[in-house]
């Protein structure tokens, strides 16, 4: 559970640091501060849905951190036999890295208002992701035919479960991606999709990092 505790320590440190900055000195019973600023409320200056994504990423990180903790604890069992990683995973990793890069270019294009760049980046990023997912399925198929069944060994079971969990998160992202792409193809202006593109980019970077951690874990153990 060390992994999880580490992750939690980081989250709690962020929460407490933020609260300290906000509130440590405030005496609400004598506070003089009138409302300041010209915004309608007291929130952060980010759009709410971006904050929502941030909170969701914390939840997803918790999910993966706990799975990795379980992985480490179960690995101590006597029956654990490490799984030979199929080469295709390297190719998949490259595809996902490219996907993330394309999303970043789409995001940059959206910020500077170039509709062509957004369109191209989104399409290429989506295709790379689909290639990644197809490659993951191929890896499953490959392992299965080589006799590394789900039930044969806990290492296999973890491999299938973790990749499935990661793949499902990507599928969820692809749903938002599809909605955004369709909107764009139907002639939406850049500023209408800009927020969605930014959200997708952050999400893809996050899932890339998760994949790199998972892949590194599978390689090292």
């Amino acid at each position: 559970m060390t992994t999880t505790l580490l992750f939690l320590a980081v989250i709690m440190a962020v929460v407490i640091w933020w609260l300290v900055r906000q509130t440590l000195n405030v005496k609400p019973w004598v506070e003089q501060r009138p409302w300041v600023g010209d915004r309608g409320g007291e929130g952060l200056s980010l759009p709410p849905v971006m904050v929502g994504l941030g909170v969701f990423l914390a939840v997803a990180t918790s999910l993966f951190a706990l799975s990795i903790s379980a992985y480490f604890m179960r690995r101590d069992g006597a029956d654990w036999r490490p799984l030979a990683q199929p080469m295709v995973l390297w190719f998949n990793t490259a595809a996902l890295v490219l996907g993330s890069v394309f999303f970043q270019t789409a995001c940059n294009a959206a910020k500077s208002g170039r509709v062509g760049g957004v369109r191209l980046g989104l399409l290429a990023g989506g295709v790379c992701t689909l290639v990644f997912l197809a490659g993951q399925l191929w890896a499953w198929q490959h392992l299965n035919t080589a006799g590394h069944f789900l039930t044969a060994n806990p290492a296999n079971a973890f491999f299938y479960m973790l990749t499935a969990l990661h793949g499902l998160h990507l599928l969820g992202g692809l749903w938002v991606w599809a909605k955004t792409t369709i909107k764009l193809q139907r002639g939406a202006a850049v500023h209408e999709v800009r927020l969605s593109v930014e959200l997708c980019t952050v999400y893809w970077h996050f899932l890339l990092v998760v994949w790199l951690v998972l892949f590194g874990l599978l390689l090292l153990t």
Partner: protein, 593 residues
């Protein structure tokens, strides 16, 4: 930064800001308004009614358990299997489907937008989905009563390997439905939780700084963060157990011989499940407790007409309890076999968490000190909470210490402890808050006579149930046993006590009918409440309409000038100053026309 004590009227009046028109979803039809509703207030009521409905099922299950314990072998329909199923379903429903759903989905949805001065939650559509996922989870769980083999009887902790092996009741369909229902619940909760957290962060009205938030919002906010981070542990363990059960992996399943047959499992770790489960399970205690802490602070302050004592300390103790609640989980596992240093660590953290908790208790009591206490029904329940929470908390100090805990493990003492601290105490707050906010939700007061009757029977009845249970636990009576048989260390008088406890349980249960009747009767016949019957300061009492209309506030959102606890301010006209009242000798003299 230095502060000068300038009293409460130093802030100049803030003119209304140009606020962009909020795009609210406007339902057109009855179904859109009350069934597929995206209004947080309606969703709150949907959550609450569902949670209370399923809670009544769990209440009846507790009667059935107690009938067996109080009068063994008198009821032919309770056999060992059904008894274990009652225990399991009672626990799971009460902890997750009633208390978690009611505090966060019910009170959270109703109170957060109103108290922070928002028109609605920030993601209303996701909020609606959250309720429907919850309802689906409840239906899946209820369906397990009707499948072959019945619901799972593995105890609410669902420990493998027994939970998925033949011999445990409901080891086929029951446990599958339970695990899927939990997974659906967690997905639904995550949708709701995102809303609660982001609404508190982003949708506060002008002037509503974090340190002006009522403690109710603080409690629900922190509990939502805990739930968002802790529920994934239950989710992962449910998924892994489903893999073990349906696909034949061995995450948790050791090599095992069942009914004379060697099973295909091997090498799995049941203790791994316990770690994951309690990594969720302990924060879950605080997911239930923190909203109760927050709400009770507001009830005490309002009905004692005094500012809450030590507001900053109250906020910080909520935050610190939340953080610490993640590093105490293994105190549930002292008898699962662990390194003694490990036990030492968890005993220490467990005792440390008692410090901020005790601070809160002192502050509640000090809030009452020299207050102008009005013994309204919500106040009775709030004071009842202080009693039951202190009692449950003190036995927690016993159980937190390894050497005391080991002999008491799995006895009725544990049952008595956790019921006092996380069943009766939060339920006191639930009842208190229903009496407190019912006037805002319906525009009518609940009947006071019925309310006081309900309180006294519930409060004294709870003690009649749980005080003797501690004693029975000391004698060594184990929990989850269908019958005691001839056990040499258990005197016969225990049976008499058990019968008395059962009678008390039946009475307390029946009295809840008075409460339900009161809810229905007052809806039609109750005294009209007006907008602010308790003379409270927080924003939900300052709405133009009672019950608040769609969009909560009138054409303009309120502007907040002060904290939520301006009660009995020296020199003020009245003994409370609403949060949105502009400063000045009197409100009327400064407010623009």
């Amino acid at each position: 930064m230095t502060y000068v004590h300038v009293g409460h009227d130093a802030t100049a009046y803030a003119p209304p800001a140009e606020v962009a028109e909020v795009e609210l979803y406007h339902p057109k039809t009855f179904i859109g308004k009350y069934i597929w509703s995206q209004d947080a207030k309606i969703i709150a009521i949907q959550y609450s009614i569902t949670a209370i409905g399923v809670g009544l099922v769990a209440l009846v299950l507790s009667w059935l358990m107690r009938l067996q314990l109080g009068f063994p072998n008198s009821f032919s329909f309770i056999d060992p299997s059904t008894y274990l199923q009652f225990v399991t379903m009672h626990g799971m429903i009460m902890v997750i489907y009633l208390l978690t759903a009611l505090f966060l989905g019910g009170f959270g949805n109703y109170l957060i937008p109103l108290m922070v001065g928002a028109r609605d939650m920030v993601f209303p559509y996701v909020n609606m989905l959250s309720y429907w996922f919850y309802l689906f989870a409840v239906l899946l769980l209820m369906a397990s009563f009707f499948v072959p083999g019945g619901p799972t009887g593995s105890g609410w902790t669902l420990y493998p390997p027994q939970s998925i092996l033949p011999g445990t009741p409901g080891a086929t369909w029951g446990i599958i439905l339970m695990l899927i229902s939990l997974a659906v619940f967690i997905v639904g909760f995550t949708m709701g939780g995102l809303n609660y957290v982001v609404t508190v962060l982003q949708a506060r009205t002008r002037g509503m700084t974090l340190m002006r938030l009522p403690l109710t919002v603080w409690g629900i906010f922190m509990a939502s963060i805990l739930a968002l981070l802790a529920f994934p542990a239950l989710f992962v363990s449910a998924i892994m157990m489903l893999f073990d059960l349906l696909l034949g992996t061995s995450f948790f399943m050791p090599g095992i011989v069942s009914m004379g047959k060697q099973l295909d499992y091997g090498g799995g770790s049941p203790v791994l499940f316990q770690h994951l489960f309690w990594f969720f399970g302990h924060p879950e205690v605080y997911i239930v407790a923190l909203p109760a802490f927050g709400i009770v602070s507001d009830l005490l302050s309002t009905h004692a007409r005094r500012p809450i004592f030590g507001y900053r300390m109250m906020v910080w103790s909520i935050v610190i309890i939340g953080g610490l609640s993640f590093v105490v989980w293994a105190h549930h596992m002292y008898v699962s076999g662990m390194n003694p240093y490990f036990g030492f660590f968890f005993a220490t953290t467990t005792l440390i968490i008692a410090v901020p908790t005790a601070l809160k208790v002192y502050n509640w009591v000090l809030t009452l000190w020299r207050g102008n206490i009005r013994l309204n029904v919500p106040m009775l329940f709030a004071i009842g909470f202080i009693f039951t929470f202190i009692h449950g908390g003190l036995t927690g100090i016993f159980l937190g210490n390894v050497s005391v805990s080991v002999p008491l493990s799995d006895t009725m003492f544990v049952v008595a402890h956790f019921h006092m601290v996380m069943a009766i105490a939060p339920i006191m707050v639930v009842m208190g808050s229903i009496y407190h906010w019912y006037p805002k939700i319906t525009g009518r007061m609940l009947n006071v006579t019925m309310g006081k009757f309900h309180f006294w029977v519930t409060f004294l009845g709870s003690y009649a149930i749980y005080l003797p249970m501690h004693y029975i636990g000391f004698l060594g009576v184990p929990r989850r046993y269908y019958a005691m048989g001839n056990t040499y260390f258990v005197p016969e008088s225990v049976q008499t006590l058990n019968a008395a406890i059962t009678v008390a349980t039946l009475i307390v249960g029946v009295v809840q009918i008075v409460f339900l009747y009161n809810l229905v009767w007052s809806y039609f016949k109750g005294k009209p409440s007006g907008d602010n019957p308790w003379e409270a300061t927080t924003l939900e009492w300052q709405t133009a309409d009672t019950p608040p209309k769609h969009g909560n506030f009138g054409p303009e959102l309120p502007v907040v000038y002060r904290w939520a606890y301006d009660y009995s301010v020296p020199g003020a006209d009245k003994d409370f100053i609403p949060q949105n009242q502009p400063p000045g000798p009197t409100a009327a003299s400064v407010a623009p026309t």
